[in-house]
Symmetry: C2
Subunit: 360 residues, 2 copies
């Protein structure tokens, strides 16, 4: 719990000292989990002068009272309006310059109306985005566990996948293996994309029967106490063809060179370029149709982004995926992905597992 209070204090440091705000309201659900460790809150008011207050509906109130020791827990009663309730408290705290992380246009209008002035309000999601990019010790511990469980799921895929199985049957074995080891759920819908579907990065997981000779892209992630992980391997059902092996080596080399490039103080766009050049040089540039990678944490996609147009600079404590791919529509696709933790001198792979096309 002290950890979450540290995070609130870190936000106050940047938003109040540097940003010039005197209060912050957090509405985004991942941000709420980050600052409270609790997933059932509806809002968190962080005033410069006053008590940090979590707003919770009746359904989650008893649990919030039991689990949250370091913030005030305020019940939003039936018939009460959350926005009005927060605005009333903000006025009581004599708040003059309020930041929110994110709001829909409707809620924005309701909040400015409740506050009585639009001038007091601004959005700045970047304070929190920048904090969340650098994982603290507690987060790293949870992400190691999520990655370990993810690797367990991939091991199950490698062991069970065979021609004749339906895509969802492979997913069943993966998810069962992760769950039995203590995972809290999947970090995203498991992808098992076989044959022509493997050429779609978000193809599968359908009732298609895997056929001998198919490429099968398996993209899997476990969640552990709200933290996520992400890993992809591509297998063949049966012995790979020469063309499949050749394509695989291109993607594998691209991934390995990217691993070496992932270091603190390196531009994320440069890491993307390293992998992209290898694929382009092999003649498949136009078939690598997505970014090289993304940050992972409480969300499956979060900053920093490893892409050609990314402005991010990598830093110690970032957790990112590196996932080059080649997708030949009508033929099939290959993607390889691991989740990496940036250490002071380079990247540590959190997900672990063999990387060969042939399962044997």
């Amino acid at each position: 719990m002290a950890t979450t209070l540290n995070r609130i204090n870190a936000l106050k440091q940047v938003a109040f000292r540097k940003g010039g705000f005197d209060s912050f309201i957090v509405f985004n659900s991942s941000n709420l989990t980050y600052f409270t460790g609790f997933s059932g809150a509806s809002a968190l008011l962080i005033p410069e002068n006053g008590e940090n207050t979590v707003y919770v509906y009746g359904v989650n109130y008893a649990q919030a009272k039991a689990e949250l020791a370091e913030v005030k827990v305020e019940l939003v009663e039936r018939g009460e309006n959350l926005i009005d309730k927060i605005a009333k408290q903000a006025k009581a705290f004599k708040i003059e310059k309020l930041a929110v992380d994110s709001l829909t246009i409707e809620s924005w209008r309701a909040l400015t109306k409740s506050l009585g002035s639009e001038k007091t309000l601004a959005t700045d999601p970047n304070f929190i985005r920048d904090l969340r990019k650098v994982k603290d010790a507690k987060e790293i511990e949870l992400m190691r566990k999520a990655a370990e469980l993810t690797s367990e799921g991939m091991r199950a895929a490698r062991e069970t996948l065979a021609a004749g199985m339906r895509e969802y049957e492979v997913a069943a074995e993966i998810e069962y293996a992760m769950r039995k080891q203590g995972c809290y759920g999947t970090a995203f819908d498991t992808i098992v994309a076989s044959g022509v579907s493997s050429a779609f990065p978000h193809g599968g997981c359908s009732d298609r029967k895997i056929r001998k000779g198919d490429l099968v892209v398996v993209d899997v992630g476990a969640t552990y106490k709200s933290y996520r992980s992400d890993m992809t391997r591509t297998f063949t059902a049966g012995k790979p063809s020469e063309k499949q092996e050749k394509l695989y080596q291109v993607v594998k080399t691209a991934q390995e060179k990217a691993f070496e490039a992932v270091k603190p103080n390196v531009k994320a766009a440069d890491v993307d370029a390293t992998a992209r050049k290898i694929i382009a040089d092999a003649g498949y540039g136009e078939y690598f149709v997505h970014n090289l990678g993304h940050g992972v944490g409480l969300e499956i996609h979060e900053p920093p982004t490893l892409s050609p147009d990314s402005k991010d600079v990598l830093a110690e404590g970032n957790v990112v995926t590196v996932e080059p791919g080649v997708y030949l529509v009508g033929y099939g696709g290959i993607r390889l992905e691991d989740t990496l933790l940036l250490q002071r001198k380079g990247a540590e792979k959190l997900t672990e597992g063999q990387s060969t096309l042939n399962k044997e």
Copy 2:
């Protein structure tokens, strides 16, 4: 595919004929799935005069081209800004009164700036909300399947749950059973909340070992082709006590009376009141800390809402949950939930399964 075009035409009917708009932009991801049948789109522009256009990033472009026959598929290229691209097309279509389903304040500002005028823009999520409340034949077919798979998961819970198992181990058996039968994933994080955790409506699913005598709330949902279902049973590990049986009968009676009350043209608030009165009369009114139920479909919580302050009136084609509960903090909780389809004369239970506290 004809189905999704029917849905677009139904929106045009209400938004253009009745609402006075001449175009609609859909951004919400469930709404995009509803109108296209595809889950990888980023926006859909529906002009009164012009072609319906789906906007897709490179990662999903090949799949969109392969799967979408009745709308134009537009690639958002690297470096292009989605909002600017749509605004440019809107201007080409000479759009004068544009509605959007939902937008963050930042995107709203970007869109009004791109359009060159705020006057052209309005949000109205209610057109789509009202359409989605009434499921069409295709949706009902998919929701029947999702409910069947959910019932399968609950059967696995009833069969395997025992003192000595960890909560997540029960979840593993539930999810494996659903997946093996062809489900596409869970509709929400499975809840297995035992002992004191069962008193929290969103308690579990942790590594807690289930003990003899515990109440165990199991809340589970399968997803089938993007459609969801929702079901809860409460079991005891071992023979129930007299107090547990008494509490269970209160909740069960409340649920049964609510089933009878669910009919077209009935106020959702009245159905909630029916169940709430039974629980209050038994002396547990203050321990029923949530709404009676919610709509289900592409999202796990969607309109209509069965609550004391709901303004919804039920109609044929609605799919809703009925889930009374009693939660005694420090002791345990009991919830019973099924997913119902409103037929012309009353409710049909889509989820099916025994309702007894004792597993035997």
